[in-house]
Amino acid sequence: MAVITMQNRPNKAHKIQPAPTPFELAVLSDKTQMDAQNSAITTIRETGKSRYQQLGFPTRRLEAWKFIDLKALQNTEFLPYPDNLATVNKADLAPYMIGGNTNASRLVFVNGRYVDSLSNTAGIPKSITAISLMLASREMPTELSALENIFDATTDAFAALNAATVEDGVLLSIPQQTVVDKPIQILLVSTGDSSAPRMASPRCLVELGQGAKAELVVECIGLGKTGAVQPTVNNTVIQIAARPEAELRMTLIQEARHEATAYSFTSTEAKLEANSCLEMTTVALRGGIARHNVQAHLLEEGAHCTLNGLNVLNGDTKVHHHTEIHHLAPACTSEQVYKSILEDQSMADFDGTITVARHAQKTDSSQMNRTLLLSEDAKTYTRPQLKIDADDVKCAHGATVGQLEEEQLFYLVSRGLNPEIAQCLLTFGFAEDVINRINLPLVRQYLESRVLENMGQSHNPKSCYASCTKIEKSACEIEG
């Protein structure tokens, strides 16, 4: 199949540089002074800046940005957060404690900067490097630069912008053969501001040595402090380098509770070496305009990558998923299941490309995108693209859009469930089907509760079942 796409290529029309937009003028002006010791971060910024200048602001003519309206963003001057703006306290983070455990391993960033007092690193084994990018830049600049150099120049304009404006982030390095069996949580919190539009640009570098295994929960959370009425951008980059036989399981949760317009961009790039494995689940919940870009490079034989996704959206939330899986070596496997539950006027867009290089024989790849529309005003777009240059490959893809299936509903009600409960159960089951694919029960349960919190009352099995039985009970009482 020949697919001509323009995605991620600098738009030719932009060779003649248009005048910088208010957005670009604001974010690319050098307001933050980096101290001289932070040479590694300074290098990241300079590289990012020149890369952004090559790529230019993404227009909707680019396939990968087709359904995203960034006009309002382009005309807004987003500024870095001032030093000690918002105080986030432990109580604010209570909803984000996995398993309700305040002592679990956690690195907390507020508005793009590491906050030690909210973090908890005591449980992280000593052999693991888990430090802020700022500190890494000062104390281990050679390692930091080496890790950065694994990644090619990004093709994503917002990833380049992240580099150009980065202040802090995390460097997480798991040595070879080290197994971390408890999840490490990285909370990237943004607060918004009352005085100006703000942008945060946290950057996460993750390296797994040969045979290392780890489980990460990364969350991009708009806390939505009251009074923070100005728009926000949370522009995150995650870079993953997996050495042979390494395994990373990662759940990326994004949610914006801001009062004002919130843009959440994440850009995840993974380099997977021989027989390594990345299992990533991206979960988008309520609020704002979000774009999740995941690019996985299966570099060596036997690498595997699972990219799953779940949108549980309501209100005006708009979420875009752009995935690229590049099969660059023989006998690599990849799987994708993206599902959306859309209420109100929400919108979800899935644009997933699989490329198979000429010598990547015995590739096995599947992709599925399913959407449940719970309202007439909700919208979805799905654009699978296969670009296959090898001949001995298995690639399957498909998409479904619709309401709950009548046969499933009938099956449940034929066992005595009332129709409202049956609908709740099926709707939550639609999401649960993605959650069930996550390895750790602890993370599954955490996600279940986060998803339930985001589901409207009428689709929520817990509240629905309670109220349904109550209604029946009172009916019984009247009869009796």
Binding site: V413, S414, G416, P419
Partner: protein
């Protein structure tokens, strides 16, 4: 218990049931046989209340009350259970959760207290033994990735949990090997009593060696064209349906044919 009177039903304006009459009393076992496409599954789904089928004439009474005004869940709560010919897969919904909700719906309906997860788990384990079903199936998504035989066992497990007054088993024996067949029929027999009734839809006499019917009916062209005792099943096994169908054989299913 169940009285079907001159029942006519259609789907998308094609008539499928053309006047079915059947009387099932408590304590009885009935077998319904008949060629493919003759309307057996349709009959069972109409009794269970499937919305795709429109009842265009006649009536179905359960314990003297017409079912026509009852929703499918109300029919289930009244004590009707259908083991589907093709049980549906329900990804993301666990067998245990689903069955507990169904069980508790019944408890509430009967004015009994609802029971919690732990108490239900004990009941479920006990019932799973009846169909010799591995406990690991209990927490899996409903029917998802189950083999044909496992799906059929899961239907009987549900029946064991819900203890219906009337069970309609639609080709529960199809796709079962002989061991599974014995287990499933032993399960059905264990649940049989003088107060409830079973209707088995089947193509094979061999099931009727295990679940012994009091009456055998032949459904063809959307009508019951012959009824008899157990020996009718043996006769059908030997001679097929042609001798009964006569000219109707050419007509096939439904009045519209296909």
């Amino acid at each position: 218990m169940l009285t079907i009177q001159d029942l006519q039903a259609s789907v998308n304006d094609t008539s499928i049931l053309n006047g079915v009459n059947l009387q099932v009393n408590a304590g009885e076992v009935h077998a319904i046989m008949g060629p493919n496409g003759s309307g057996k599954s349709t009959l069972s789904k109409v009794v269970a209340g499937h919305p795709a089928f429109e009842v265009t004439g006649g009536d179905v009474l359960f314990e003297g009350k017409s079912l026509m005004d009852l929703d499918p869940n109300e029919r289930a709560l009244a004590g009707i259970f259908l083991a589907f010919q093709y049980p549906v897969e329900v990804p993301g919904v666990s067998n245990a959760d689903f069955l507990r909700l169904a069980y508790n719906s019944k408890q509430v309906h009967n004015g009994q207290p609802e029971i919690d997860e732990d108490a239900f788990s004990d009941i479920l384990k006990e019932k799973a033994k009846i169909v010799e079903m591995d406990e690991s199936f209990i927490n899996r998504a409903v029917n998802e990735g189950f083999s044909g035989g496992e799906k059929k066992r899961n239907e009987i497990l549900q029946m064991a949990v819900l203890e219906p007054k009337l069970a309609i088993l639609d080709e529960t024996d199809s796709g079962l090997d002989i061991d599974a067949l014995k287990i499933v029929s032993a399960g059905v027999n264990k649940l049989k009593s003088k107060d409830n009734a079973v209707v088995v839809i089947t193509h094979y006499q061999r099931l009727l060696d295990y679940i012994k019917p009091d009456f055998v009916h032949v459904l063809a062209g959307g009508k019951i064209i012959k009824s008899g005792g157990r020996e009718l099943a043996l006769e059908l096994e030997e001679k097929g349906y042609d001798w009964l169908l006569g000219d109707k054989a050419a007509v096939g299913a439904g009045s519209g044919g296909q």
